[in-house]
């Protein structure tokens, strides 16, 4: 009892105790104080305890709260409504500035009317220079490009730019539209241009115009800018035979102006090649709207996908997909369908910021979609049928003019359109890919980059690393623990246990460094030796022991020094493997393993691969599994072992058939805890894998794990952005994985304890 000095009555207590017994006022006050302190302490401890535990458990909740906004749809707030055109004049073009302060509307008159979106004001008129007296009938415009081409009823093609600039007069800022003409040509004299597509690539411009709604005319314009002289334009036009396919209802030109895409009244999409010389060549036709007609078409951001609306209400995006069987190696494929509208789709506008689009149908239903995730984020009713529609440059607003000449403005709050469950965990068809796939690629070089945020390759990487780590660690730790608890000399047991526990103290960054920087090059140079280690080491070690026994004529029992002989045998085995490896490499692989591997199996060899990670993570996991297993084996009641041995079973039979099954759930729990540790390991996978997010089980390849991915990407992810929240999803997945596995392990462990109590 000497240790518990606290228990011995201190002088103070010796004095107070009798006082408490009597009833004098000082004692009563003392008692009150004690009671008060007790109450306060109880409340404090309870509150703080509960709040600490609550806070600890609140981590999961916080992660959930952070990812919640990902799955919310968009929010639209209606803005100003004002008349901009008389109802007999259809709108041809609408443009909006970046701050959503001004909007420009072009009707049939060649005058751009500028309206304020803040309040109703009389419009400011900006005439289109050179088009006086003509009537605008078609406009072509590409998103994120100030260039505009206008076709008129008189068959004139006008091109130029319309741009918004911010001007400062004093301290007043004003957003002003600037219209600058480039050139004007007559392409179809006195015939009405009803549809127009226009592209410029260097000196060459191409215009595709639908004349009178039936004929398709491709005009090639060459611009010459001689030094000192006036700019000269030469044009040559050729008709494209579109009649067999129906009337052209939509025309688009690709970015370089070498291909023409036409939607027809028979519901077909036709693709023509426009060679520099010679007539247009029809490459392919695909049915886009079976039984209906294509009503509207527009390029999505990046000019790779085309959104197509049909008279049956269908909306889909089409893209060129590599196909070796096709005539020119590409084929138009419908890669993202959206929910069908109830009636004809009349207008589609693509977002200039992301892969979003708005489609409006004849019954006034407008939908905000996102191409990659195929999500429909918002649906709203348009009061009257729109004629033109545009999204603000930051994709945070939309303006449209309906057929009665009213301008409507909506503010869009659409923070995370690219995320859906399918985007995170399913296959999606990304632009430029041949088929839907799981891809992680969170950032790209250009603005029109399509983020690919599938967590599947990362989860796969985590599981792959964990699997290889457990494959390496479980036999070593499990059987090592069995030997340690059952066969090892008792005097050695504690030092060895301590040494292995010390292994758990190794910081993982050290393991990562050793694995990634020291071991990886070493293993690459001695890969064949490393591959034969699992055979060579036990063989040499056990064989060595047998040899030693024969030489020293020892009995077949378990000898004290046996372990050291085995250890020496392991070292010898490694040396043998290092010696045999190059010989084997020369014989089997012709002297170069990596080349042989590539030839024989098609597998690449990465220097930082799963083999290395398996070793390093195994190193981190072994002490955990070992300690828990060892405890479980040691806790097996001795009478079971004794009974088994007394019945004449050999030591191994006892260990294998009695001890191991009796400690089975402990072993299971150990493996689960080891799994949990390996899943969450960060520094090792960060430093010892190449961090390439690929789906490949090969042991000679690297991978990218969830944890390493978070560590790499979250410092660069802007707060509250999509990537930031997706990384929170990754963290939540990790959290859930380990939490579930650890809970299972804990339950099994409790079960084991109860079971052993029964024995």
């Amino acid at each position: 009892m000497a240790e518990f000095t606290a228990l011995e009555p201190t002088p103070a207590r010796r004095q107070r105790l009798p006082v408490v017994m009597t009833g004098d006022p000082a004692a009563a006050a003392f008692r009150r104080r004690v009671r008060l302190i007790d109450q306060v302490a109880r409340t404090l401890i309870s509150i703080s305890g509960v709040s600490i535990i609550g806070a600890v458990l609140g981590i999961g909740l916080f992660l959930l709260l952070e990812i919640f906004p990902l799955f919310q749809g968009a929010r639209l707030t209606p803005g100003i409504v004002q008349p901009v055109l008389s109802s007999d004049q259809p709108a041809r073009l609408i443009v909006i500035d970046e701050q959503q302060e001004r909007v420009g509307v072009l009707g049939q008159d060649p005058v751009l009317r500028l309206f304020s979106l803040a309040r109703r004001q009389p419009p400011e008129l900006v005439p289109i220079p050179g088009l006086e007296g003509e009537r605008v009938s078609a406009v072509s415009r590409v998103i994120r490009d100030p260039q505009v081409a206008i076709g008129t009823e008189q068959g004139t093609l006008w091109t130029g730019t319309i741009q918004f600039v911010t001007q400062f007069t004093g301290s007043q800022r004003r957003v002003q539209a600037i219209v600058e003409p480039d050139f004007k040509l007559s392409v179809a004299s006195d015939h009405r241009i009803t549809q127009l597509a226009f592209r410029t690539a260097g000196e060459q411009s191409v215009a595709a115009s639908v004349i009178d709604g039936t004929q398709l005319l491709v005009t090639r314009i060459t611009t010459q800018r001689p030094l000192g002289g006036p700019v000269q334009h030469t044009q040559e036009s050729a008709r494209v035979l579109v009649e067999p396919l129906g009337h052209p209802t939509g025309v688009l030109l690709n970015e370089s102006g070498t291909q023409l895409l036409v939607g027809t009244s028979h519901g077909l999409l036709a693709r023509w090649g426009l060679p520099a010389q010679g007539p247009a060549e029809l490459i392919e036709t695909v049915p886009a709207v079976p039984g209906g007609c294509v009503t509207t078409m527009t390029y999505m951001l990046g000019n790779r996908s085309v959104a197509v609306g049909g008279s049956d209400g269908s909306v889909a995006t089409w893209s060129l997909v590599r196909d070796d069987r096709a005539a020119d190696g590409w084929r138009l494929r419908r890669i993202h369908p959206f929910p069908q509208h109830a009636s004809t789709v009349t207008v589609i506008a693509a977002s200039p910021r992301d892969k979003g689009l708005i489609s409006v149908s004849a019954d006034g239903v407008a939908r905000l979609h996102y191409m990659t995730s195929e999500r429909t984020l918002w649906q709203f009713l348009v009061p009257a049928l729109p004629t033109v529609l545009d999204m603000a440059p930051k994709a945070n607003g939309a303006v449209l003019v309906d057929h009665t000449g009213q301008l409507h403005h909506w503010l869009i709050d659409n923070p995370h359109p690219e995320i859906s469950w399918r985007a995170l965990f399913g296959k999606l068809w990304y632009e430029g890919y041949q088929h839907p796939d799981y891809i992680w690629q969170s950032s790209g070089g250009t603005d029109d980059f399509e983020p690919k945020l599938s967590l599947v390759p990362l989860v796969f990487g985590t599981l792959k690393g964990t699997c290889y780590a457990l494959l390496f660690a479980v036999p070593l730790a499990l059987f090592g623990a069995l030997y340690c608890s059952q066969f090892l000399d008792k005097r050695l047991r504690n030092p060895i246990k301590s040494a292995i526990e010390l292994m758990a103290a190794l910081p993982s960054v050290v393991l990562g460094f050793v694995a990634g920087v020291v071991l990886a090059p070493l293993v690459q140079n001695h890969i064949v030796s490393v591959l034969i280690l699992p055979v060579a080491v036990p063989a040499v070690s056990v064989g060595g022991l047998a040899l030693w026994r024969r030489l020293s004529s020892a009995t077949a029992g378990i000898h004290r020094g046996e372990f050291w002989i085995l250890a020496a045998g392991v070292v010898l085995g490694i040396m043998v493997a290092v010696w045999v490896g190059p010989v084997l490499e020369r014989i089997v692989c012709g002297g170069h393993f990596e080349g042989w591997l590539l030839r024989a199996t098609g597998m690449r060899y990465d220097q930082r691969n799963s083999l290395i990670v398996g070793w390093a993570m195994g190193f981190a996991v072994i002490p955990i599994i070992f300690t828990i297993c060892e405890d479980a084996f040691s806790a097996v009641p001795k009478h079971l072992v004794g009974a088994s041995l007394a019945c004449g079973a050999s030591a191994w039979q006892t260990a294998w058939r009695v001890v191991l099954p009796a400690a089975g759930s402990g072993v299971f729990s150990a493996i689960m805890v080891g799994f949990g540790r390996a899943v969450g390991e960060t520094m090792i996978v960060l430093m010892a894998t190449g961090n390439t997010p690929i789906l490949d089980w090969s042991i000679f390849n690297g991978f990218r794990a969830l944890s390493a991915n978070i560590a790499v990407e979250i410092p660069e992810a802007p707060y509250g952005g999509t990537l930031y929240r997706v990384l929170f999803v990754a963290a939540l997945v990790l959290f859930a994985m380990t939490f579930v596995v650890n809970t299972a392990a804990e339950l099994v462990r409790l079960h084991l304890r109860r079971q052993l109590q029964g024995l």
Binding site: M1, L7, L63, A505, F513, V517, L640, V679, T682
Partner: protein, 579 residues
């Protein structure tokens, strides 16, 4: 069907305990007599030996890794001889042997057994590379020139070569290498003194001035943000700050002037270095960190160089993008962060454990919470890092910034990573460790003690405070040390909540309020990651990484061993004091 030990019910017939087992085993080896045959017994030993082999492998791994780190780490600072080589392609090199290896199988022409050696030839500023591979059979002559000098410089890594001149305002010493060497050694103390003075002016005086100016600037910004600058008091304040800034700027100009003079004076003392192939480089004597002639050093001299390098490593700040110099800021950051973490985590953990074990009514809810807390110890550290970043840095830190330090925005004060948030994140991560350890300790306190105390009339709190907790202190201590060890070795959550590769300022300095919890800090573990993994010159920085690893490992292992010993003693005590 074979009889089996019924493990689900876990019961063996108590009447005949061995019957079941006997049947079990007999059914397995049908012919009992055959077991006496020796070869078969050897075979039956095989699995045991295989398991022994597994244990040996595991043990060898830990021993090998420790050995690797120890050898590489401790050998790093030992001065090695400088070799002068001439090769068959007319090359002359002077360098240290860095590593030897057989020539890879690709170039077979020279035979499989050929060895090559990686020499560190230094002089990165003139050679553009630190290292060169030389095949052994290409070497014509090899010698160790006694006058060869290793010059460790502030920039461009070491110089291996000779010293040709020492230039001082009093005159130039050149010619005889012995005399030049002696002259250089004579000049070194005064050069060191000059460096110290210059550094003091740069760091202390100018740094403090800048800080003061910044304080006044922030005060002005604060006044502006308040929006009403037209009241006389505020006008007066504004003028006062502006005046102060003006005065400080004048002082700065004076100091900068004197600093310029000091520097010019310092630049006048120069040394000319020559490489083996005759290229020259001139630099001020004060740019030399350490200088020695390795081929001439006695054993004692080597020890002295080793000790000096070790001292620099532990006590000096890093140089050259962390690949040289010391790790003092990282050691300091690691220790401070661990201490802050412990200060936060111990009371929290102990209160939580007390609540769980002493106050809460035991039931399925409490055991559920216990399992949950237990499992949190297994939640990946990076998840805590993400939580720390989102919750502490952005949510709490951002809110503090908005309301307390609006004048500093948009530069975050608490709104980014900092040592405070990193410590709290780790505290949260290690809370389960302390809760579990404390609970274990509380459970080990015999109930008799509690009952005795209560029976004597002590209140619950008195019992807990005076009887139970003192008895459980060793357990709490063990938990604390384990938590510290885990915290000190953790990197992943830190690298997103406040660790940087190079912190310009320490979280603790002489400027009020002395401890700056909003600052970022350096950490040994991150240092390893940064230098070992992200450095461009890995070959040269490997040595530093091994040494850093050794230091970190030393700290973590010491903490762990202490925890183990405390735990061991404490267990013994309870065994002896079985109540």
């Amino acid at each position: 069907m074979r009889p089996r030990l019924n493990l689900t019910s876990g019961r063996i017939d108590p009447e005949r305990p061995s019957t079941l087992l006997r049947t079990l085993i007999l059914s397995w080896s049908k012919d009992e007599r055959s077991r006496r045959v020796t070869p078969r017994r050897v075979v039956s030993q095989l699995p045991i030996q295989l398991t022994g082999c597994m244990l040996a492998i595991a043990l060898l791994m830990i021993v090998g890794l420790m050995g690797l780190i120890l050898c590489q780490g401790l050998g790093t600072f030992w001065p090695q001889p400088l070799w002068e080589l001439t090769t068959s392609d007319q090359g002359r090199y002077l360098g240290l042997v860095h590593r030897r290896e057989p020539i890879p199988a690709d170039d077979h022409a020279q035979g499989a057994r050929a060895q090559r050696t990686l020499y560190r030839i230094g002089n990165r500023d003139v050679y553009e590379t630190d290292f060169v591979w030389i095949n052994d059979q290409h070497i014509l002559t090899q010698s160790r020139p006694t006058e060869a000098v290793v010059v460790e410089r502030l920039e461009w890594g070491p110089w291996y070569g000779f010293i040709s001149d020492v230039k001082t305002p009093e005159g130039t010493v050149s010619g005889n290498r012995e005399q030049v060497w002696a002259a250089l050694l004579r000049q070194r103390p005064s050069a060191r003194q000059r460096t110290r003075v210059i550094r003091r002016i740069e760091r202390r005086i100018i740094g403090d001035l800048n800080d003061e100016v910044e304080q006044h600037r922030l005060a002005i910004r604060r006044l502006e943000l308040r929006g009403r600058l037209d009241t006389p008091t505020e006008q007066r304040q504004l003028q006062r700050h502006q005046h102060a800034i003006k005065v400080l700027e004048q002082r700065y100009a004076r100091i900068a002037d004197s600093l310029g003079q000091q520097r010019a004076q310092d630049q006048a003392y120069r040394v000319v270095l020559t490489s083996i192939d005759g290229r020259q480089k001139e630099l001020p004597i004060s740019a030399i960190v350490r200088i020695h002639q390795p081929n001439r050093l006695s054993w004692c001299g080597r020890v002295a160089v080793y000790a000096d390098r070790l001292r620099e490593f532990v006590f000096d700040p890093p140089r050259e993008a962390n690949t040289e110099g010391g790790v003092a800021p990282a050691v300091f950051g690691t220790v401070l962060m661990t201490l802050l973490m412990s200060v936060a985590v111990v009371p929290l953990g102990v209160l939580g454990a007390l609540c769980l074990h002493e106050y809460a009514k035991q039931g399925p809810l409490v055991s559920g919470v216990r399992i949950a807390v237990n499992n949190l110890a297994g939640v990946p550290s990076i998840v805590f890092g993400v939580f720390g970043l989102g919750f502490f840095c952005y949510l709490i830190g951002g809110t503090i910034d908005r309301f307390v330090f609006p004048e500093r925005l948009p530069t975050p004060t608490f709104g980014g990573g900092s040592i405070l948030w990193a410590s709290l994140t780790l505290a949260l991560m290690t809370v389960p460790v302390i809760i579990v350890a404390t609970e274990e300790a509380l459970a080990a306190v015999p109930n008799g003690l509690r009952e005795a105390s209560l029976a004597c009339g002590a209140s619950k709190f008195q019992t807990v405070w005076r009887v139970v907790l003192p008895a459980a202190i060793p357990g709490v201590l063990t938990g604390t040390i384990l938590a510290m060890a885990r915290g000190a070795g953790e990197v992943a959550p830190l690298m997103i909540t406040g660790v940087v590769k190079l912190a310009p300022t320490m979280p603790l300095d002489h400027l009020w309020p002395f401890i700056h919890l909003e600052r970022k800090f350096m950490h040994l573990g991150f240092h390893i990651y940064d230098v070992g993994y992200q450095s461009t010159n890995i070959e040269a920085s490997k040595a530093m990484v091994y040494m850093t690893t050794l230091l970190l490992l030393g700290i973590v292992v010491c903490l762990n061993v202490t925890a183990m010993r405390i735990r061991g003693q404490w267990r013994q005590r309870f065994h002896s004091a079985d109540v």
